[in-house]
């Protein structure tokens, strides 16, 4: 049993039962899962959560899954890493990294959302799941579907990185590459979802799927000692992660789990080659103008972000800001994080780090406060994003080694 009351339209407020549904039938706006917060307040305590295993189901009262979860049982509860070396370099007193590059089972934050979607697919007794994906979601849906023993149909843009395609096909998923960009794939997926009785995680399972992203916010607050950070930097593709972190922190406050009210400033990060949400924030608008993506940050290459309107609004109402990074800055961001903190992230993480640096330099982020950066994926998935010199090759002789390291030990930045 869950505390779910049903689904509610974010715009017109129309209510629906908790069922497979893409959006509001009246105005097409996204649906939010609505909970009985009063009952959750009475039953959920910090101690109760602390007594549970280290995975995202420790917050299950605030999640939409009814039965005992069957897949993604070990997902979530990734490390919140104190990042003093990077913080010193950037001039931040208290910098933390929420490191979802080690997420279980597929090394990106998408494991949080597929843990919801695939368990709901099992509850709804669906024979197959599917998605449109820029890569990380594809990996995660395929893996969780395999673990659940249900078929997966995955639609991707043709140009996706090779390693992300392999890391989807390996689970036995049916992968179909579509000529065009993600937004073309997404349109096709919406049309396929109308014809086939499957669970599409980003279409008719969307209200449930999206709830998984709240757990990143829950964990950050708990790992900081039940405090919301001063600032949080989040990479944005469709804008759902940032919006759901906002919802998650708000829910913790609402059910009485936080020591102080949430005053967190939300900061959004995109690539210059795909920045429709940043563009809206700069115009101080919530009106999203779609773009044709052209960036190495393929996991963020959504030119028509479905939650961009909300992400832009939450950034501005929180007092935060948004900025974008060029491909070169993204690569530098990946290297900077690896060399200072020993964390190898994919392009989206490079975007977050590059934008963090810009926001600090421009004075947007409070240097004395607690800053958290969401590192959402693993660098092993996008090795082509950084161009490094090939290693030196030597004969297996001690003199050869001494000759190449002459000049002493190389200290990283």
């Amino acid at each position: 049993m869950s505390f779910v009351k049903g689904l509610r339209c974010r715009e017109c407020g129309k209510e629906y039962p908790a069922r497979l549904q893409a959006g509001c039938e009246e105005c097409f706006a996204p649906l939010e899962v609505d909970y009985d917060y009063a009952a959750i307040s009475n039953s959920l305590t910090q101690d109760r959560i602390a007594s549970r295993p280290g995975n995202l189901w420790r917050y299950r009262e605030l999640l939409p899954v009814e039965a005992e979860p069957l897949v993604g049982v070990a997902s979530g509860w990734t490390p919140l890493v104190r990042a003093d070396r990077l913080g010193r370099k950037l001039g931040l007193d208290h910098l933390y990294l929420k490191n979802d590059s080690v997420s279980y089972p597929t090394l990106s934050f998408k494991d949080r959302v597929t843990s919801m979607a695939v368990n709901k697919a099992i509850e709804f007794k669906l024979e197959a799941v599917g998605c449109a994906s820029t890569g990380n979601l594809a990996n995660s849906v395929a893996a969780q579907a395999a673990a659940a023993g249900i078929s997966a149909y995955i639609l991707i843009p043709e140009s996706l990185e090779r390693s992300k395609i392999t890391a989807t096909q390996i689970y036995g998923a049916r992968v179909i590459a579509v000529r065009g960009n993600y937004d073309d794939v997404n349109r096709l997926c919406a049309q396929i979802a109308e014809r086939h009785p499957w669970g599409f995680v980003n279409v008719n399972l969307r209200p449930f799927y999206a709830e998984g992203s709240k757990t990143m916010g829950f964990e950050i607050a708990e790992q900081l000692g039940w405090r919301a950070p001063t600032s949080i930097v989040v990479p944005m593709a469709g804008g759902a992660l940032l919006s759901k972190i906002h919802k998650g922190l708000g829910e913790l406050e609402r059910v009485g789990l936080l020591k102080e009210p949430v005053k967190t400033k939300l900061y959004g990060a995109q690539a210059v080659g795909c920045n429709p949400i940043v563009d809206a924030v700069r115009r101080k608008s919530i009106d999203i103008r779609p773009v044709k993506p052209n960036t190495i940050a393929k996991s963020l290459a959504i030119g028509n972000p479905a939650d961009g309107y909300y992400a832009s609004g939450f950034i501005q109402s929180s007092g935060g800001w948004a900025d974008d990074a060029t491909d070169a800055e993204i690569s530098e961001g990946i290297s900077l994080l690896a060399e200072t903190q020993g964390i190898y992230t994919e392009t989206a993480g490079g975007v977050s780090i590059a934008v963090l640096k810009k926001l600090v330099d421009a004075g947007h982020i409070d240097r004395r406060g607690i800053t958290v950066v969401a590192i959402t994926g693993n660098g092993l998935k996008t090795p082509e994003a950084v161009a490094l010199n090939p290693p030196e090759v030597i004969d297996a002789r001690i003199e050869a080694f001494e000759r190449v390291v002459e000049g002493g030990v190389v200290h990283v930045a």
């Binding site: 959006g23 097409f28 959302v113 994906s133 997404n186 919406a190 969307r206």
Partner: protein, 91 residues
Amino acid sequence: MSLKVVIPTPLRKHTGGAEVVEVDAGTVKEVIDRLENKFPGIRNSVCDDSGGLRRFINVYVDGEDVRFLQNLSTPAKDGSEIAIVPAISGG
């Protein structure tokens, strides 16, 4: 000019269940006008009070989002396919 309009499931309550509707129109705006003539009430589901497309509706002419073209003024040629698609999330 005869155009094919693909109607998404939530709007088929207006079209008597039809998935594809043929209309004669020269622009996207005219497509919506013709649809409203045939199926009174459908405009309200597609457009907001100011007459623009609703925020959560995407309209495509032969696969291209009209926001990259001329929005409601986007012309359609004979045989074009107009698809009305609710926005969906992604990643």
